[in-house]
Symmetry: C2
Subunit: 420 residues, 2 copies
């Protein structure tokens, strides 16, 4: 019989110390968002293959783990010979299941609905350091709210959550970057790009952090856009200085490209969020923030930790996306939290891993201990546990030093050796 000891390629076994840290972070996330009125929901990890391949998932659709049909269904598919052997697949994100969930359960949910989802997603990607084929995603979304209260609540809740989690390792400085998809479009249109080119232009602008404005200019021209248009377009971004205001940035973009209410909306979000942020956290208008996904329709935002060159959470408004699935438009905005990234950063900063609280005690029972004595120890353990302590009772190993070392690794602090 062939038995494979390692986990499936790209997926992880979680050791007790991994689990302690992950559970700790999960519980802080739940508590934090719970206080902001987000309600936890869960969808099956198995999803209809039709929903996963509806062209809303972008490149992720190429990475689906497909689940085979069974029994007579499978036989029929084989007989047909069209190669359609899968009826289900493992979800590659939490957004497709959320759209399905909301379409299915809308009537039973408060409106607007503030959802918190935490769960595993699956992508048959090439595994590499920090990228796995099973990983945990954490999304918060507000459905059915077309006002900017949604963005305000998403941003303040997430900033508060991150502040609490990272306070434990003395990281307190975060920056919330905010922009608006409609402003990005307006700049491009105003410079002379056609409506249908905006997606491609933004793909280039999104590389700002990597290749700078020079690189973007080169790429746009290589892509065949007129030099004049490209020049006019990038001039707007060349003029950007740290601390630029929305009005300063937009001064040359006419109302026909950018309605005043879009600017006002962004200013209002910043104005409402700023006063409720913790010390060390700031919110800045960032005109070069793009965020990859094409489905955003309004405000977009990202949170970075000062001193790290990656974002730890990102999201935006996507009012047209759920409708593409369910046929009925629903105002929606959301934030996706980089759970695995948070865990990795915490782990890097915690020597010896995340430990059990208190003074866990191990009673190690020798093999000559009488039944009466054993019963005494068990009664004592029961008392201590009733008082809230962590107590383990186990047989003493032959190599007691090694046994104690391994228990110490897991946070055990007191050892009572019972020889007889």
């Amino acid at each position: 019989m062939k038995f494979i000891k390692t986990p499936v390629k790209g997926m992880c076994d979680m050791l007790p110390s991994d689990m302690r840290l992950r559970e700790h972070v999960l519980s802080m996330i739940k508590k934090s968002y719970g206080q902001y009125g987000f309600m936890q929901i869960e969808t099956p990890i198995v999803e209809h293959i039709e929903n996963l391949t509806s062209k809303q998932g972008g490149d992720n659709e190429k990475l689906i783990f497909k689940v085979m049909k069974r029994g007579a269904d499978l036989q029929r598919a084989i007989d047909k010979g069209t190669g359609e052997y899968a009826d289900n697949g493992l979800r590659y994100d939490l957004t497709v299941p959320l759209a399905r969930y909301y379409a299915c359960n809308k009537e039973k949910l408060p409106s607007p609905f503030k959802a918190l989802q935490m769960g595993n997603v699956y992508r048959a990607d090439n595994p590499q350091k920090g990228r796995f084929r099973q990983f945990t995603q954490c999304d918060i979304d507000i459905l059915g709210d077309d006002s900017n209260l949604a963005e305000i609540e998403l941003i303040t809740a997430t900033a508060s959550m991150l502040t609490q989690i990272f306070a434990e390792i003395n990281i307190t400085d975060f920056t919330i970057h905010i922009n608006d998809r409609r402003m990005l479009s307006a700049v491009a249109l105003c410079a002379g790009f056609a409506e249908e080119d905006i997606g491609s232009v933004l793909i280039s602008l999104d590389k700002f952090d990597k290749i700078g404005l020079e690189g973007i200019e080169k790429e746009l021209i290589e892509n065949g856009y007129p030099e004049e248009t490209v020049g006019k377009y990038l001039a707007v971004y060349r003029a950007v200085k740290e601390g630029i205001t929305i009005d300063e940035f937009c001064q040359d973009i006419g109302e026909e490209y950018l309605p005043a209410k879009v600017k006002q909306n962004l200013a209002d979000i910043i104005g409402c969020v700023r006063p409720v942020l913790a010390q060390g956290v700031k919110i800045v208008f960032d005109p070069t923030l793009v965020r990859g996904m094409g489905y955003y329709t309004g405000a977009i935002f990202e949170i970075t930790m000062d001193g790290y060159n990656f974002s730890i959470a990102g999201g935006g408004r996507y009012d047209k996306m759920i409708g593409k699935f369910s046929g009925q438009d629903v105002a929606a905005s959301g934030f996706s939290i980089g759970f695995e990234r948070i865990v990795t950063i915490l782990k890097d900063h915690m020597e010896g891993g995340y430990q059990l609280a208190g003074e866990p005690t191990a009673y190690l029972i020798g093999n000559r201990v009488s039944l009466e004595r054993k019963a005494e120890v068990l009664a004592l353990a029961r008392e201590l546990r009733a008082g809230g302590a962590i107590v383990t009772v186990m047989p003493m190993a032959k190599n007691i030093k090694h046994q104690i070392e391994l228990l110490e690794n897991e946070g055990y602090k007191k050892f009572e050796k019972i020889y007889e």
Copy 2:
């Protein structure tokens, strides 16, 4: 585009009230077992198809959701035409992954290792009331302990966990049934059955609760066993009275069938467990307890709630099972907790579902409210949240009565309507 709103057949969307209850039970389980020194671990839900089809999983192997090969691997399989299109599958229990996990990570884990696993498993069973294709299992296992301290800790920890959970709905009376696989075999051998018939005889005895001794007698004779052997065998069980002791039950079974240490072991477990049980919980020797799985090798046990005719947790010692997977025998015993059953019972006893604690407050903001007023409310909400309260801020709906009703369903108690 075809979009399917309902979840995949046999799987469930969890509403916020479902999640609150499930999370509450999960956290009580974690806390309770955590205090007994069980350490949480996690394995991927995707497992090697070889490991899932190794003939240790019994009938569950027929119910595997198979995950298709991808890319070149899939093409090769199709070209070969042998129908082997799957390289992975979704796990159908937590035991196979535990065996793999222990084989893979043993060196890093304390010995003995007390594991707590909670996770979803998948079976392509025919869905029916209370039976799903994705459901949560909760297993505790002690690996590497061949002493009866393992059984004692498993049973006391589980009794303590159940007592705490069910105290909330005023159920306090549980019975722990205990028996030993070797005693079941001894009775059969002593009556004259052959070693190789024990499995089949025990399948009949396992139906005691359903068909009684008369039914078992009929079935054994129909199965072709000699009337005399059957008569002698069942006479032992006919003599069983409530409160029968191990010695009374075993008096006619010779040492050659049943070594004294097996009886002593069972008596010791009962003797050590009994004094540490909470009021209302009892442990009884139950000579007709069989438990289906053939892999048990020693003590077996089950917990029932008095007044309910099903078990809520069950397990036993299975010293030979991990070795069948990994090639190296490991002393092992475990308890599987009926998580879904616990959740269902609690739900049935809780009118209005499991509610949020405290006095959750909703601020409902009218559409004429100024930016300044909105900022005031947000600052107030921030204060209340910092003090531990659950506060949601959302736009007031047109149908405010319905909006409040739905929020009340989720446990909101206070509503502040801000009109301007």
